[in-house]
């Protein structure tokens, strides 16, 4: 590799396909991303539901507590989790990474869902009850389908945050590496650099697509006047 770059080649992209360790790391990242984002979205949904539907004692405090992992420096969160995990005598690996990522993703998911649910008309749930449905079927027939675009958006954003996350994964990793850790490891070998750069390019494109998808879904089904202005081209 030398600057200025010369010529065009797909050689390094092909090279990527021939690294089994890369695919192991990719799989780990997808696994951690899906599990932690699913759980984070679920927790965030409960929190958002509580914050938008009820006024209760200790509301600002609990809101602040959920936002804390988003506000404190990530390295401090990583060290704290590492200390706790090791103190408890548990093995490092993907499980603590998932727990760390749930903590880290939940505030983001909650902010997205609160924005989405603030416009939710509570009369719709009452109308469903009035028409004979109990709480569970009201959730599945009314609340869930109407909030589905928001939930998917929250899941996708949580996934991206987890997928890109480096520090928590670095501290809490056992023998299983996530993709960012794998890439970091590869940087020690100058010869492997082009292949990491190729991977980086792929990730940038894929992430951008997912973020755009999440953004599009977030607005889907919103009344025209509540859509984000930036989305109207």
């Amino acid at each position: 590799m030398a600057f200025p770059l010369q010529g065009f080649s797909t050689e390094h992209y092909e090279d990527m396909w021939n690294s089994p360790k890369l695919f192991d790391a990719l799989w780990n990242s997808v696994y951690v991303g899906v599990v932690s984002s699913l759980i984070a979205t679920m927790l965030a949904f409960f929190a958002a539901k509580a914050f938008t539907k009820y006024k209760f004692w200790g509301q600002p405090l609990s809101y602040g507590a959920i936002l804390t992992p988003f506000l404190i420096p990530e390295i401090i969160l990583a060290i704290a989790l590492l200390v706790i995990w090791v103190q408890m005598g548990l093995p490092l690996g993907l499980t603590p990474i998932i727990i760390g990522h749930i903590l880290f993703c939940t505030p983001f998911c909650m902010i997205i869902l609160i924005a989405r649910m603030e416009g939710f008309d509570r009369n719709l749930e009452e109308a469903s009850q009035d028409l004979g449905e109990g709480a569970l079927m009201t959730f599945f027939r009314v609340t869930f389908p109407i909030l589905l675009p928001g939930l998917i958006a929250s899941f996708l954003l949580g996934f991206i945050i987890s997928f890109d996350e480096f520090l928590l994964a670095m501290f809490l990793q056992g023998s299983d590496q996530t993709l960012p850790i794998y890439m970091w490891g590869q940087l020690r070998f100058a010869r492997r650099l082009p292949h990491v750069l190729a991977l980086g390019a792929v990730i940038i494109v894929a992430t951008s697509l997912v973020v755009m998808l999440a953004y599009w879904l977030r607005n889907l089904g919103q009344p025209q006047d509540k859509k984000d202005v930036a989305f109207k081209i």
Binding site: D121, N123, L124, E126, A127, S128, Q129, D130, L131, G132, E133, G134, M137, R141, V142, P145, I146, G221, P223
Partner: protein, 361 residues
């Protein structure tokens, strides 16, 4: 028809220190168009939500058709509601909105289609099955909300200010349509509104509420001509209040003295006490006869001077200063307008039967 189809017994609902509904008891008849009327914050919507089951009372009981529904959840009650904002489900089309409440009825597809068509034609929206809520106008959404409730064939239909969001002309049309619809289906309607004109024109009976309490339950005519207290008299239409004093009783009548107008004997409908300063007389503006020339016939004949007038098209309101009175009398007339009284002098006549004696509050 049952007199006590809906029975509300000693119902109270408090939100913190606010007594939204304060120890209310009354009954609604089967097949009746019943209105709950009052200013905003009077507790009428809370009472409707207590009937629907969205609020639990702090005290009291509610019976519908003989069944105690006080602690029954909304999905099990024989009531359906038309919400103020209609609450049409945005994620499903009109047909599926209408059929939403029929899941548990386990009808065949054919029967379900027939029922849906039946209510759609009732609200005159055939052909709108595939539309979504955002493709409907306010009036159409309201009809869908009605159809969605009526398909359930409820014992009671609850309507929470359903005409509030419509423009004047559409509202007048819907008033007549709702009334006709109610007669056609024969379901008991409980209708919440703050619009006194609306409640008077549509209802069999009206309950006027204020500060969580029922002020009066009457048919529209009685409500207008025989209000039980100052609040009702003031809330329904416009009226003149004149401070008065009572004298001695004489059978059903009582002597009343109104300063600057005179002393006379009128019917004591509310059985107010003798020799009291705690009374007012209420006289409707249209009950005061106006003339440019001296009037011969009438129980009370007065002279006055026009201070002001407002022209409303179908009638004109005059603010008339009467010698010795502390505030102008309001009289309305279809015959005269702003230009009728060139020298501002006018003559008034009031009949005793048009004077309502009320207790001061």
């Amino acid at each position: 028809m049952s007199e006590n189809f809906i029975e509300i017994k000693n119902i109270s609902k408090h939100f913190g220190d606010v007594k939204a509904v304060d120890n209310v008891s009354f009954s609604i008849r089967q097949g009746e168009f019943f209105s709950l009327l009052g200013p905003s914050g009077c507790g009428k919507t809370t009472l409707l939500r207590l009937l629907a089951g969205f609020e639990a009372p702090n005290q009291g009981e509610i019976f519908i058709d003989g069944t105690d529904v006080t602690s029954m959840s909304p999905n099990l009650r024989p009531t359906n509601m038309v919400f103020q904002n209609y609450a049409i489900f945005p994620h499903i089309n009109v047909k599926r909105n209408i059929e939403f409440g029929m899941r548990k009825e386990k009808l065949s597809k054919q029967e379900l289609d027939n029922r849906a068509q039946e209510v759609l034609s009732l609200v005159k929206l055939e052909g709108y099955e595939e539309r979504f809520s955002n493709q409907l106008s306010g009036g159409q959404r309201q009809r869908i909300a009605l159809a969605r409730a009526l398909i359930k064939r409820p014992k009671v239909l609850l309507l929470d200010e359903p005409l509030g969001a419509l423009d004047k002309k559409l509202r007048d049309e819907m008033q007549i349509e709702l009334r006709n619809l109610q007669k056609a289906v024969g379901i008991t309607f409980v209708f919440v509104t703050h619009d006194q004109g609306e409640s008077i024109s549509m209802s069999d009976r009206v309950a006027v509420m204020n500060e969580g309490k029922i002020q009066q339950i009457s048919d529209p005519h009685d409500l207008y001509y025989n209000p039980h207290n100052i609040f009702v008299s003031d809330f329904i239409g416009t009226t003149n209040f004149l401070s008065a004093k009572t004298g001695v009783k004489n059978g059903d009548n009582i002597m009343v003295q109104i300063e600057s107008i005179g002393e006379f004997s009128i019917e004591n409908k509310l059985n107010l006490p003798e020799n009291s300063n705690d009374v007012v007389c209420s006289i409707r503006p249209e009950a005061i006869e106006l003339s440019t020339n001296p009037i011969e016939k009438g129980d009370i004949i007065l002279e006055g001077e026009i201070e002001n007038s407002s022209y409303y098209g179908e009638l004109t309101s005059f603010y008339i200063k009467v010698e010795g009175a502390d505030k102008p009398l309001i009289a309305s007339s279809q015959r005269f307008d702003n230009n009728s009284f060139q020298d501002k002098k006018c003559y008034l006549a009031i009949n005793f039967e048009d004077i309502n004696l009320l207790k001061k509050e």
